[in-house]
Symmetry: none
Subunit: 204 residues, 4 copies
Amino acid sequence: MRRKKKTKSEDLIDRRKSQILEAAIKVFSEKGFEGSTTKEIAKKARVSEGTIFRYFKTKKEILIGLVNMLTEKSMFKFIQEVEDGLDPSQALKNILKLHYNMITQNYQLLKTIFYEMQFHKELREAFYKEVVSNVLEVIKKRIQESGSTRDDVPPELAAQTLLGIFLGITMVQTMVEENENPLDPDKKISLMLDIIFNGIKKHD
Amino acid sequence: MRRKKKTKSEDLIDRRKSQILEAAIKVFSEKGFEGSTTKEIAKKARVSEGTIFRYFKTKKEILIGLVNMLTEKSMFKFIQEVEDGLDPSQALKNILKLHYNMITQNYQLLKTIFYEMQFHKELREAFYKEVVSNVLEVIKKRIQESGSTRDDVPPELAAQTLLGIFLGITMVQTMVEENENPLDPDKKISLMLDIIFNGIKKHD
Amino acid sequence: MRRKKKTKSEDLIDRRKSQILEAAIKVFSEKGFEGSTTKEIAKKARVSEGTIFRYFKTKKEILIGLVNMLTEKSMFKFIQEVEDGLDPSQALKNILKLHYNMITQNYQLLKTIFYEMQFHKELREAFYKEVVSNVLEVIKKRIQESGSTRDDVPPELAAQTLLGIFLGITMVQTMVEENENPLDPDKKISLMLDIIFNGIKKHD
Amino acid sequence: MRRKKKTKSEDLIDRRKSQILEAAIKVFSEKGFEGSTTKEIAKKARVSEGTIFRYFKTKKEILIGLVNMLTEKSMFKFIQEVEDGLDPSQALKNILKLHYNMITQNYQLLKTIFYEMQFHKELREAFYKEVVSNVLEVIKKRIQESGSTRDDVPPELAAQTLLGIFLGITMVQTMVEENENPLDPDKKISLMLDIIFNGIKKHD
DNA sequence: AATGAATGAGTCTTCATTCAT
DNA sequence: GATGAATGAAGACTCATTCAT
């Protein structure tokens, strides 16, 4: 109960925090963590610099707040909401498709978070606890229950591989596309999924 | 001949540059680009701060110098030196194994380079020209000449996928391993390769 | 009305700016532009170094701000306020006397501005637009309307000559006086004016 | 004797010094004292930076060396060499014409010297002793012996005025010409001289 | 609670000067 | 004597954080 009931002032606090975090997403996405200034975040959030420090003790805390927001705003949660009844490989495809979009859409921010994780233990822990472990768990479950994966692949590794594949591919593609001509996103994702499921080897 | 013969002073310059770059690798790897100071690099390189700027006009140039070093020191070149006669999938495995080690060993630095690429065009271009395009080319060639890949997978995509898979997996594993127990690297890579070739789907 | 009414914060800004500019006058006058440090200006203005850069984006802007201050504080404007009814040569004398004092009082600063103008286009333009052109215009007008100058002297040249004479004489006198004994300023200016009007040639 | 006889090595020293000073003239003229680097002077003089400091203890000494060179190279001496028999006012005109050219030609350098004099006593003294006092003396003498100047003008002041007039006019003209169209130099100097001799007042 | 002016530690970078070769 | 690599002090400028209003 308590969880859901909030006093007015708590509400206000949350609103202010969100306001700041929304602004931070944009600024961090565009300029990275170090490249962003609290001044700019304040401006974009239409509050004063002082206010920011009322709600977040330090600049770093804003970034951590962002990670928490990611899950609260269920950017990742939806992964668990894919319907259950589906053909497993199709379900996985759906998951991955959504996942792909999410990563694509929040690519800049995620990159910043991923990067800064190296330097800030709190951030690393928050991100792992809030995001990674969930994602891995879901994927793992899906793979297992689909029953269609090879027996010699431990589900953990499969899940990690899957997540890594998506992250990495997205990164590389972003890089490549700036220099070469981009492929049709839909075709691209289909092919990637096909590769993941069937491998690149020719089967006769 | 002339190419290889260097004057004493050229040698010295190179040595100093290396000295600074080696230090920069450590510092950048540990603290990232923005988090590093030229002062600390100087200290670790056991030269004065002024000396750094004799050899690199700006801090950013150090990072670019690092990218060039990566190729010059043939961290990536070896890819082309894998013997030709091998069974193609085995050759690819060898390549990837080496590649994997390289990425693992320089993971922190690569992450920094990848990340900063967003903000520095020169770096982006240098890295793409020196590293990415080469890697992609080699992988593509290998995949093609192996003749064993599916016809419906464009080699470019396959190559990109491969590169991305390795980068992404490495990232995820680094994250995961900090929180869980690491797997045996050899087994891990074998499995990953297997996945890449054969996919995760069960074949009967 | 509105023009003159300033909000409190505008007032404060102006006060801070003035505070810094006053300090800058002293420091620049004493040590020149390059010889001055923002640190010293800050100290003399009793603000932190950071504050300086709140009000002036760069050190150079302080110098430009000084030029604007010169006119805003009507150090030069008064030239136009000399009464009109006077005997023209007397009016000019008054003008020049005031001018002389102003130049003398701000000699060091003016020298710095003059000098740095070589290297900073913005400064050159600001100074020319704000000061020189005005001065020249006024002097020219006065000379013309006095009707008492020779017809073969183009007013522009006469005006330039006048301005130059004062600047140059002030410079030389400053130099000379350090080594020899100074003359009575009033006598000096009278004589100079006389020379300018009547020339150095003996007329019988 | 000793004065004129120089050992070989003294000769060499002088040559090196000249070499450096010639370079310094160019660099200082273009970039001012603070804006110039010993590195650039060294480069232009085709010596190493270290060599510069063999011949001049400090950068400032180069500037002082330049002042001495000015007189030694008789940039100002010629003033005394104007023929004696001439009509006095014509002689003065010649002097001033030469003077004018000299100032014009070395304007940039002189400006730098003038400016830096404020901050360096040694320089100020050197310049006054070597240059100013000479010039003043000559002009004064000329004015006096011409017998054609007004009795109420003390020769010192007349001389100072003259020198100041030329310096100042040159400065102003340089400034003005950048913004407006330049006058024909010959006409300009004639007019200026005329003004100096006859004043700007109309004589009937 | 909110503001935004003020702070000052910390950054990259420059350059006169020194010194080993 | 000459070199030019190395030094390190010093400078302009930035920005997270604080605090008086």
